[in-house]
Subunit: 286 residues, 2 copies
Amino acid sequence: VKVAILGVGLIGGSIGLAARRRAGARVCGYDPNPKACAVALDLGAIDEQASDIGAAVAGAQAVFASAPVGALAESVRQALALAGADCVVSDVGSTKLALQGAREDPRFVGGHPLAGAETAGVENAREDLFEGATWYLTPAPSTNRVLYGRIEGLIELLGARPAEIEADAHDRLMASVSHLPHVLANVLVAQAAEAFEREGCPPTVGPSLRDTIRVAGANTAVWTDIYLANRDALIEAVERAVNGLEDMRAALLRADAGALAAWNERARAARKQLLGGDTPSADAAP
Amino acid sequence: VKVAILGVGLIGGSIGLAARRRAGARVCGYDPNPKACAVALDLGAIDEQASDIGAAVAGAQAVFASAPVGALAESVRQALALAGADCVVSDVGSTKLALQGAREDPRFVGGHPLAGAETAGVENAREDLFEGATWYLTPAPSTNRVLYGRIEGLIELLGARPAEIEADAHDRLMASVSHLPHVLANVLVAQAAEAFEREGCPPTVGPSLRDTIRVAGANTAVWTDIYLANRDALIEAVERAVNGLEDMRAALLRADAGALAAWNERARAARKQLLGGDTPSADAAP
């Protein structure tokens, strides 16, 4: 089986490594930056380097478009135009409705692996990056289910757990569970830095603040594209967060200990559901 | 030198351990729960157990009130009523204006060590808990500076870095850098759990969400007290956060890539200032 990787970075490179070693695939890579392909060849993440998308997808049974979000739609469009009738084309972007144009093609299956690492770039690619990770797949009604089964099986061989979900449900979900955490971290870090400055106090970062702002200020080009690609769902998620804050502020204004306690208990239950276990006391010690 | 610890938990016990081993102090502990004192004696966190606050502070040169926030004001009041004229009384609460009543006593110096641990209770006390930690001190104009110097020196012996700050500045600062992170984590975790449920999707928690909600749902009794003790400053901090979110949402509504990029760059600079280094890519990989 021939697999094409369009965009050989951390994710594309890791797909290549796992596809070669775990699925016995022959992997052909294309990247606008030829250096990335040279590194990928060295690392064994690809078997061969294509000079353009047409050469990469020629004869392939599966294509993973793994370019940055801003370049993804064009990469998928070209792959569908150039790939054969029996080739499944997928992508790894963190929003799925943005690829609406491709969704009418029966060969296209949107995808999104919930995996990443502290460090980008093909040089950090790992065969086990997807081990145990959820990998969302968002087929459309027109999707060819045989091709869907092929990409699903391939993803299982990479070590991930495929999870089928509607594209719009996926994007709404990501707005709340991935994009909003970045938005809140950005708001908090700016406010904390201003507070230290306003009070004339050298910054000292306790454990709660440290964790909560860790993902703040992520790569600006990548995240501006993500925020805009998921604009409608994110606007709604931000509105919900504002409402949540306004409710808490109203309880504070009323000095309503019962409402604050109930609000905290809801958070405690939700945390237990998502992370398992109780909250450590962190800076709550005194 | 005799040091009294009123409230022998993680913080009180750690002060006791460090005061005995690093400052050569004789430490007398009082706790409404006698079991805590028994454990503290076993662990070497105190030399002796007092049956009441009066016995604990009798003959002491320094007192640390380390009860939970809700019980702190009464503990400090009793300590000041029963301690000698040459005894400095401090506390470890995370808000300082709440102890306003004590602030007119020249023997009182409010304090707040920025230290904690994943696990509460005297059994988790550590001699090095305060090593390198900022320990805010909030003297009032009426504070006796000789007594201030004594508590400052003692705190240095415990391994911490004393930092003098006005009580109201301290509380405003904590609202933004300690209490708000908990509020945002609570709002986010509830919203994320609702989103998984609404989309009919089993929860899968990626690295960004995991970090950002770690401190959510902290001990309800403790945190309800903290939120109420710092009510005015926290109301203002929540308002600022709402404004920050509204600005971001307005940029999304306008699809204003430039404003979103500038907003993210400000967060990036603030993060670098507070944590040092750039943001890892986290779930931004694709």
